[in-house]
């Protein structure tokens, strides 16, 4: 006997609308179905009606957490089409913001993972420290989330000495705090008990299902666009690709913390080596026909924009593939044979950004009483069946 549990589109674990329909037997999930579309906004069509400059802001609002990554990916592509070469100082500031955004996104994710596991103190502390990087971003760009610092041909705001000093200072505090959170995350038994061995995704599945970002790296597949296709300034900076080989949620936590530490390093390098000069060059309004594939390593994984121009001031086609969409097939795979209690964690582990994935596209909250009615006798039968053939989970024992 199994019954269906709808998760979303309005569900406290998912801050965004998406609909997962879980078929569960007792506490064990046997089947998952994802329904997108609640967050579909129709952005790709809309982009064809707006001009190149308006599209920067439109693309930036695909996602609020990785806003800069979409904007940068788009701007990078359009600059190639326009054959512009942004000044080096502009590039450094642009990628400095993108690393700061990665820090903010990973700290946010650490907190959310804690929250999903019911570890509210962890959540509160990480988010408290996240305010440091939010303040830095606000100082650089003038807004906490949608930085709007990119423009065609460079960036819009410059950095002064005081701001540079503040960034360096912030990095020192954050590095200390991140190491502490890593210590907590790896040592608190109830937390580790929740995340170790949960959401297994072996490497061959990662490859087959084309997973990206920390999800793939936690399964030992070291793909990072920054390393393999070094765009702009990344070729001259020193950093490593963080990987783990546990293939579970714990591995994804480890990968993200390692990436945090790498990002601090990158930020410090960029601030210290900030070249002098202009921050932007003037961009034409029209683009001659052509096409470009722009790739960018967003905090959640590879972000790819395919831009086609037709000679006017509006794009012919703008295709956006956000990392979360690429991770959905993998998520479904991870959720199978998991417990209901693991849903939020597994789902959080891909750091879902549903708005990204659907751009212009949701799970269903059954809300109340209108879903299946389960009888007492059924529940008993379920419980008995579950105890008879509950799947044995690796590491699922209390690890004291």
């Amino acid at each position: 006997m199994s019954f269906q549990v709808p998760i979303g589109p309005q569900h406290p674990a998912l801050k965004e609308p998406i609909s997962l329909r879980m078929t569960v037997e007792g506490e064990v999930i046997t089947d998952v179905d994802i329904r997108l579309g609640y967050n579909h906004r129709g952005l790709e069509k809309l982009a064809e009606e707006k001009n190149w400059i308006q599209n920067i802001y439109l693309v930036e609002r695909i996602c609020g957490i990785c806003s800069h990554s979409h904007a940068t990916c788009y701007v990078q592509g359009v600059e190639k089409l326009m054959e512009l070469a942004p000044p080096r100082r502009g590039l450094y500031i642009r990628y400095l913001v993108s690393e700061l955004e990665r820090i903010h996104s990973h700290l946010l994710w650490l907190g959310v993972a804690g929250h999903e596991a019911g570890f509210d103190s962890f959540f509160m502390y990480t988010w408290r420290d996240r305010e440091i990087v939010m303040d830095l971003l606000e100082m650089i760009s003038g807004n906490r989330v949608h930085y709007a610092i990119n423009t065609l041909g460079g960036v819009r705001r410059d950095l002064d000495e005081g701001q540079k000093a503040k960034i360096l200072e912030g990095m020192v505090t954050l590095r200390k705090r991140s190491e502490y959170y890593f210590h907590i995350g790896a040592n608190e038994p109830s937390f580790v008990g929740r995340i170790a061995g949960v959401g297994l995704l072996p490497k061959d599945k990662v490859v087959a299902l084309c997973a990206v970002g920390p999800t793939a790296r936690a399964s030992g597949w070291a793909r990072d666009v920054r390393k393999e296709d070094p765009y702009a300034v990344y070729g001259e900076l020193d950093f490593e690709v963080a990987t783990a080989d546990t293939c579970d949620v714990l591995g994804r936590v480890v990968v993200r913390v390692k990436e945090l530490l790498e990002s601090y390093k990158l930020c410090e390098q960029m601030v210290r080596n900030l070249p002098a000069g202009d921050i932007a060059v003037k961009a034409p309004r029209k683009v001659k026909p052509g096409e470009v594939v722009s790739r960018y390593e967003a905090p959640r994984g590879e972000n790819i924009h395919y831009i086609k121009a037709n000679g006017t001031d509006k794009p012919e086609r703008l295709k956006v593939r956000a990392p979360t969409l690429a991770n959905y097939p993998a998520t479904v795979e991870m959720l199978r044979k998991g417990f209901i209690a693991d849903i939020p964690l597994i789902f959080a582990a891909i750091d879902p950004c549903i708005c990204c994935a659907e751009r212009a596209v949701t799970l269903v909250k059954a809300g109340s009483g209108e879903e299946s009615v389960v009888r007492m006798s059924d529940l008993r039968r379920q419980a008995i069946a579950r105890h008879q053939n509950a799947p044995v989970k690796r590491n699922a024992v209390w690890p004291l």
């Binding site: 997108l36 129709g42 190639k80 470009v292 590879e302 097939p329 212009a360």
Partner: protein, 157 residues
Amino acid sequence: MTDAELIEKLKADLGDKVAEIANPARRRLFLKVAPSDIIAVTTRLHDAYGVVFLSTISGVDNGETFEIVYHFSTPETDFNLRTEIPRADPHLASITPVIPGAILYERELQDMFGMIVDGLPDPRPLVLPDDWPAENYPLRKDWKHTRPEEVIPGGKS
């Protein structure tokens, strides 16, 4: 292996299956293939060149034809496979047997362009709403959206 060497190798290997190979920027290869060859070329790339990762599939409405670009990437190069199918008969073979991760992108193509992807294991709509009228494909160039009137609550305009 540089891009030029790779092009030579691909030309020799795939022969007349590939109509043209362009290399507009470093690490970007655009291969043009006939729609009937798409599975064969993908399989060959997958097996012999380590092209296992599909980034996404883009569709473009060119008026008379639909252009479909498959974006693959490997640590060395990005392969972009381009194919065109006629608008009147928009049938496309699914590459999910080779790369299972392609399913979401192919479902999206069906939704947004009205292409028919043959051999898709799960052909339900993906992104469009439940009450979406049939035969409306938003990303086709001839599909226009009329905005509903915005009513601001509170009386005066």
